[in-house]
Structures are given as C-alpha cells and as structure tokens.
C-alpha cells in the first residue's frame, strides 16, 4: 500500500473548498436574469380544490409569473411515477394514484404543491404567494396506516380501495405455519418502526433555466443521481427530450436517500422557466423540507419467531403494514418489499420464512428510502425479537445468536438472497471484547449503588448493498438497471480524469476514487480529478444510494482502468521493444520486469497522443469507458453493542459506550469508512432516542422544524468505538461490500435492547425520549 493507495488513510482532496467556503451548492448558483420561486402548498391534509384565484398575486411587486397545475397539465407535463412495479399476491399490479407536480383537483397531504409564484426576489415571491387565493373543500383525513385500511376510512386515491396499494408476500407460508405449530417456543412481538425525516443539512433546491435560442433546458438540482433525474424527467414527465436537458448536481449537502427522487419542484421550475422566460430558482425552507421531502420508515409489524427445544430458529412469520404517504414516491414500493423482507433471515439459519406486506396511502408526506431503506426495519424487527426470545428462553443474547448464526457460505436464504461471505462470530467476538461485555455485571451493580439503571444491548445486522444486479432487479419489478459506468481519461501529460456515474454528497469520492488510480498507475492523487454530477460531462450513471458507489461505482472504474492499463502496456512494450507480458507499472514508472528499461508514466501517455510511434493499427489516445453490472448484492454485516445508563428520576438515557464491529470486506480509505459508520450510528441513535415525525389526527405535521423535531446534537452522543474485520466480497473485483448505511441499520435495536434491559421491560417505543422512559418506569412500578 502506497501512502495514497488503496488502504491508506488519506485526507480528503475535496475538503479544501468546503473548509474555506468555496463549496458550490445549488443555492450558490447565480444565472443572469434569475428569478426566485416560492410554492404555495396545501394547508390541508385532504381537500378538494374548488377555486384558485391568482389575479391579486399577479399584480404584486416584482412578480413575473403565478402558475397553476391546470396550465402545467395543458402543457403536457406528466404525473410523477413510482419506478418499481410490485404485484399483489393475487397478481394485480400495485395501485398507483395520480401525482401531479402541481395539484389540480385535490390535495392529499399538508405541503402538497399547488401553485408556483416567481418574482424578482424571494421576499416578493413570498409576499405574492400569501396573496394567492385558493378555495378548498376539506375532506376527512387519515394519517395512520393501520386505520387507513379499515373499511370506511377516507379514500385518498380513486385508484385504490381502502387505500391499499398492494398486498404482497414472500417466502413459504405453509412451511412457516407448520414450523410455528410444532415449535417448542414461539416469541411474539408487535414491532413499530417510527417515522423519520431524513434532514440532510442542505435543503432541497432547484434552478431551472430554459434557453429559448437553443430550445434547451439546464437543471441544477440537489440530486444523488442526476442521470436518473434526466431520464425520468425526459421519459415520463415530458419536460424535454434527454438531448435537450442537462442536469447538474453540483456539491450536494447530504442526501441519505431523500435526494434520490425526482420531486415536483425541479420539474415545475424547468417548466416555469420556459413559461416565464427567466431562469427560476427555488430553495426549500427547512419547514418545507419537513413537509415535502420524502420521509422514512413508518412500519407496524407483527412477528412470530419459532424455536425448537435446542433454541434453534425453525420459522419466522412477519406481517407488516407500511405507510407510503399520500403518493407513491420513485422507489417507495421496493423499500418495504425487496429491500426489507429479503433481509429477514438476518445473520441466522432460518429454514422457513414468510412475510406479508401491505402498503397503504395516508394523508402524509410520501415515504421512500431513508439511509438503510428497509434493512433498518428488518434488522430492528429481527434483533428486537431475538433479544426478547433470549430473555424468554433464559439464555444469553450472544449465545442465542451464536447458536443460530450462518457459518458456511454461500448460503441461500428462503427469501431470495444468497449470502456470499461473512464471519458473524468474528464481529460478535470483536464487539463483545471492545465493550468489555464480561465486565458489565459489575458495572451494572456499581451503577445501581448510585441509583442508576444500566443496560446492555446488542444487535447483529446484515444488509444487502452493492445495489444491484440489473437482470435480477429487473425480474423483481425495477424499471431501471442498476449497473454503473466509468470513463478514465489519461491526458497527454499523464494526469487523469475519472468520470463516474456515482455522485458524491459527502462520501469523499474525489479522494477514494483517486486512491484507486494511484494504486494502479502511481499517479499522485492531486493529478487525478474525479468528475461527477453533470449529464453533459458523464455519459450515464445510476447515482449514489444503497452503499453502491464502492462496490458498483468503483468496480466500473476498475474495469476502465484495466482497459487503460492494457493499452498503456501495449504502447510501452512497443516503445521499449519488449514483450507486452513483461511490462509492469510501478510507482509511476512503466518498466520491463527484471531489466532497468523503463519509461515514466507520462511518456507513455504522451506517446498515445502524439501517435508518432504506436503499434501498427492502434488508435491514438488513452481513454477507456466501462460499464459494470454487479453479479450479486454484497452483504456487509456486523455487531453493535450499546451500554446505557438511565436516571430513573428524570428518564434521561446516557449512552455510556457504543461499539461497532463491522465487516465491510476490503476498504479503500479507513478514515472515510469510519466517518460513514459514525454518521450512520448517529442517525440510528437519533431514531432510537430522539427523532420522530408526528402528524395530528387532522394531518398537520407537528414536527416541522428543528424546534419540534429532535435532531441528534453533539451533546446527545458519545464518541464511538469502531473497528472492522474483513471477509472480502467475492463478487466484485475490489472485494468491497459497502459501508454507508450500516450504522443506521445496526444501531437502533442495540440501543432499545439496552434500554429494555436496563428497565426490565419487554418493549419501549422509539424514540425512547426521557418522557417515554420516565413514563415506562412509572408504569412498571405500579
């Protein structure tokens, strides 16, 4: 490993601009003639639109346009779609209700966009938005998914009776029922996974610019996948043909899933730019983000886990209701199905699994992938149930897990996934050692002397990343392939540009991807530029989510590097009059192995471009493209342990320690990987202790600002003890599994298992706020 190569803790190249105020986010973009947009949003959760009067607003100072859904529809702009088809178990397709980018006849959640106002300044647009008069006829609303599917609940979309979107199943119901019937012990739980708001620190934003002379659109947007945005806006929303639409996602301030989707605002800004003849910029307020970003989680499940007399799991039956909100967001259907139920085997040998999932419309913001997406829900369900089972069976949580671990690979689960590599005992051992698990009993006793309640909890998670083999996901209903592309351009002086379809919004691609190139050609990482986020520059790509940029994005780069290396070796062999097979590239030099004959890297590049002396028939240039389609998902796994101390007088939970032992396969930059784990854990602890999105019965979001929605702050968290072990992934050339979501997946059950251990209760709802903990203690005492 070189000092800038694979495995090195290299400080990030991209940091310089961020620490000096030179980052370029969408809100920083200024285009000549640019105006500012404000959306008028529905104040009602469910209502018919009777009348929209824009006259007064149109006459306000600085206003250049006030546009409605009727005009948008008249111009042929399409409805938003969900890109993953799921069929119910009766064979019928999911019931996708129409989602117009600007509501026309009906609004279905508080925050539904109805009118766009464009003015010289944002202040003027805001003033004019206040003057738009909309007459609504309020309808009854429903926000709870379990109530929305009851007969008589308000019908949100004409397309779906009882608000049921699909009723889907996976696994073998009969075998699972039989296992439960003949079990020595069955653990039963109701598991609620609380609704969250992703809350990337940069609010969503869009700048649409229609160039009349060229009949061409440019969209700057806060996107994790600009090419997918272009594809969808072109193919489904009729904004413009792909060759007439450029999408740029510059520096993006965090995503966590919420910036995967194509939202109404970017479509409307592009359309409004053509309509008004000026570039139109919209930047969300934080409250708008709370109202109209896709939310995450919101599952209610019942689970039965069957054991034989030796405490081996014989069956797992799950019944889940997932709230998808008012409309089906882009990937909303695959989150509670193929990203959730396929992971219900966890790290365990479970011969029979059956899951039934019903997805439901409610009068709430659309729900889609949020960091982990389905896998945190599966992990929480499984690891809470394992903990309860261990307590019921009277054996230690670690022993019960070990007894049921999968230990030989490949392992085919009953729910599609084929695990390729792992060592679950290794991460459990590492975590228990790092946490001094053996010393816990004494620490608990010491805490009790101080009147404090100590608890310890573990969670052994698995996730499927490296999303995803295109043919496999296509067969399951995905509307796109999930490969990745890369282009490696060696310049005539030997410097290198790598164009990637991955998108960095905090993950440090500009550094890790350059490390890969350094490893291969010895070129300093300062001489390697990573280009991403612009559909005019990068050919095509599927973007960054599902911990895919390492396993899929970098694998595409490896393929392109292979091709560049092969051509460079041919050129060098020709120039050095040697056999191609004897050429090696080391430390920036191209050498004939076993001799002192060599060329500096840049001379090979120069020779490729001068083309004065190339092998016969070879094309000039040194630039290669590759597409990589993964052969399998990857399966990061690990063990998290948390130790908490609760003050019974106040209900405050103090996290004494949080240990993470992860197996991510091979690692390019350990510093960046650790950073990903830290951030994920913080979000998981946030879910367990602090965060919750709450609607009242009428559909008003009660947690729509940072004064109401409790974001984890520095004082809420400890420093984390993280470590990694390594079973390399056999399915991709780098042996990488992915690390972006693990922290958020593994941590919530570790925290709740610790709290329930401390309190001696079976369950406590998330977030386990001080008030909830305090009330639970009081309820238990009586």
């Amino acid at each position: 490993m070189g000092i800038e190569g694979v495995g090195a803790r290299v400080a990030r190249k991209e940091d310089k601009r961020f620490i000096t105020g030179g980052g370029r986010y969408v809100d920083d973009m200024v285009v000549p003639g640019m105006k500012h947009a404000v959306f008028v949003r529905s104040p009602h959760a469910h209502a018919q639109i009777k009348k929209i009067d824009v006259k007064k607003a149109q006459g306000m100072p600085g206003v250049v346009g006030v546009l409605t859904g009727k005009e948008l529809k008249a111009d042929g702009i399409g409805n938003l779609i969900c890109g993953w088809m799921i069929h119910s178990k009766d064979g019928t397709p999911m019931k996708m209700g129409a989602w117009s980018p600007l509501a026309v006849d009906k609004v279905r959640y508080v925050g539904d966009a109805v009118v766009i106002v464009v003015a010289d300044t944002k202040g003027q647009a805001r003033d004019a938005a206040e003057a738009v008069e909309i007459t609504y006829k309020e309808l009854k609303a429903v926000v709870d998914a379990t109530k929305a599917i009851q007969p008589g609940a308000p019908q949100i979309h004409a397309e779906s009776d009882n608000n049921l979107i699909f009723d889907w199943e996976i696994g073998d119901g009969k075998a699972t029922d039989a296992a439960i019937k003949s079990a020595a012990h069955v653990t039963r739980m109701k598991i609620v996974n609380n609704r969250l708001v992703p809350n990337a620190m940069e609010p969503r934003a869009a700048l649409g610019h229609y160039d009349k002379a060229e009949d061409h659109y440019t969209c700057w947007t806060t996107s994790q996948n600009p090419h997918v945005a272009r594809l969808v806006m072109s193919a489904f929303y009729n904004v413009a043909p792909e060759n007439k639409l450029r999408v740029i996602a510059p520096d993006v301030g965090g995503g966590f899933g919420s910036k995967i989707y194509i939202y109404p605002e970017e479509i409307v800004c592009l359309w409004a730019s053509k309509k008004t003849g000026v570039p139109v910029k919209w930047v969300a307020d934080r409250t708008e983000s709370f109202l109209a970003d896709a939310h995450g989680r919101d599952h209610v499940s019942n689970v039965e886990m069957a054991f034989d007399k030796d405490n081996r799991i014989t069956g797992l039956k799950v019944d889940t209701i997932a709230n998808l909100g008012a409309y089906m967001s882009l990937f909303s259907s695959c989150v509670p199905t193929y990203l959730y139920a396929t992971l219900l085997s966890g790290q365990y040998n479970i011969p029979a699994i059956h899951a039934n999932v019903r997805t439901v419309y409610t009068n709430t913001a659309p729900v889609d992938a949020y960091r982990g997406a389905g896998r945190p829900e599966a992990t929480y369900l499984l690891e809470r149930t394992m903990e309860t089972a261990a307590r019921e069976l009277g054996i230690s949580p670690a022993e019960l897990r070990r007894k049921n671990f999968i230990t030989s690979f490949p392992h085919q689960t009953p729910v599609i996934m084929n695990y390729d590599a792992g060592d679950y005992n290794a991460s459990l051992d590492a975590a228990m050692k790092a946490a001094d698990y053996a010393g816990f009993a004494k620490r608990k006793a010491d805490a009790a002397k101080q009147g404090k309640l100590r608890g310890i909890g573990m969670s052994c998670y698995i996730e499927a990343c490296g999303i995803a083999p295109s043919a496999a996901v296509g067969s399951l209903g995905a509307g796109v392939g999930l490969w990745e592309s890369a282009e490696v351009r060696v310049n005539a002086v030997g410097t290198i540009e790598v164009l990637t379809g991955s998108h960095s919004h905090g993950q440090g691609h500009e550094t890790t991807f350059a490390q890969l190139v350094n490893q291969r050609f010895g070129v300093p990482i300062d001489s390697v530029s990573i280009v991403h986020g612009d559909t005019d520059k990068v050919q095509m790509g599927m973007g960054t989510y599902g911990s895919r940029s390492g396993a899929v994005g970098m694998s595409a780069i490896v393929k392109a590097l292979d091709k560049v290396e092969a051509k460079a070796k041919k050129i060098a062999a020709h120039l050095l009059e040697a056999d191609e097979g004897d050429i090696v590239i080391e430390n920036g030099e191209v050498k004939v192995a076993g001799t002192d004959k060599s060329l500096p890297w840049f001379q090979v590049a120069l020779a490729a471009y001068t083309a004065h002396n190339l092998p016969a028939g070879m094309e000039p240039g040194l630039k290669e493209t590759a597409f990589y389609d993964p052969a399998n998902f990857t399966f990061p796994a690990g063990c998290y342990i948390s130790e908490v101390e609760i003050d019974p007088e106040t209900g405050v939970t103090d996290i004494i320690q949080f240990v993470a032992a992860d197996d991510f396969g091979n690692i390019i930059n350990p510093m960046i990987v650790e950073g990903q784990v830290h951030g994920g854990i913080a979000q998981g602890i946030g879910q367990a202790l602090l965060e919750g999105a709450y609607y009242d019965g009428s559909g008003q979001l009660l947690t729509a600002s940072y004064m109401d929605y409790t974001m984890p702050r520095a004082g809420d968290l400890p420093s984390f003890k993280v470590s990694t072990s390594n079973t390399p992934c056999p399915s991709n050339p780098l042996g990488i599994k992915g690390c972006g979501e693990a922290g958020a997946i593994g941590s919530p059950p570790a925290i709740i298992n610790a709290i329930t251990d401390a309190l001696g209760v079976v369950d406590i709802p998330m977030p386990a706020s001080p008030a909830t903990v305090w009330a639970t203690i009081r309820a238990t005492k009586h």
Partner: protein, 166 residues
Amino acid sequence: MSDVSLTVNGKRVSGSAEDRTLLVHFLREHLGLTGTHVGCDTSQCGACVVHVDGRAVKSCTMLAVQASGSTIVTIEGLADGAELHPVQAAFKEHHGLQCGFCTPGMIMTATDMIARHPEGLDEATVRAELEGNICRCTGYHNIVKAILAASETMAKGAKGKAKQAA
C-alpha cells in the same frame, strides 16, 4: 430600504438592502460570500455562523441593517492567505466534515469556542458548546476530535509566540 456598511474579511463594503434582509442573505446575495449557509428557518442549525465584532453569531438571527458598522469575519476570511487557519486544518486532518454544508458554521463556532477557552477544552465542553450547530453526516465524533486537536495546536502556538516575545 436601508444603507448597510460593514467591514467584511478586512474590506469595507456598503450597499442598500430591504429592511427585512437578514445578515446571512446580505452576505450571500449582496456580497457573493456563499460559504455562509442557511440550513433552517429557526436559528437552530448554525450553518450560518459568522464572527461579528469578534463573537460567533448566527447570521440568520440578525438583520443586515442591525450589523451595520460591524466588523465581520466569514469562513472565506478565516485563512491567512494560502495558509489554513488551524481549525480549518484540523477539520481536514481529522475528517471533521463530509458533505461540507454545516462545516463553515462549525468552524466559525469552533474558533470562537477555542478563543473563549484559553485554559483548553475537553470533550464534554466541546460537545456542550456545539449545542447550536447541527451536523447530519459525521455523528460529531470527528468534529469533536478536530476541535480538541486545533485547541491544542493553537495553545502550543500561543506558548511559542509568548516565548519568542520574552
């Protein structure tokens, strides 16, 4: 409209702004200093922290006209030419940032915090004093590490300077 005159990053600037214009918007839109960010509407997130007359202030809580006459340092003015401020350097070295959006506010808060604690900082103090800054990427682990390291570096630097003076 009101006239606003400021000294920003060592330069005198003036302009006129609507009375309701917040300092953060004046910096971003009138002066083009887009390193100062807006992450919320309620003065909770701290992405907009700048120094006003030597103190850390959330520039979304202050009207531009209120700041008139003040001396302001933004993230763009923190480095000494090409040389990074020790807090900037520590954030890079200790991976105290990921997406970079909260970073300018974090760094401006941290420099103020270190200046107010010449006796040095410990983890608990740093965490408590970061109450007004939200980061969604790092889990704060490396931000805390970076601030502690910068605090030590700066204390050593100050001692060195004191020795030289003596």
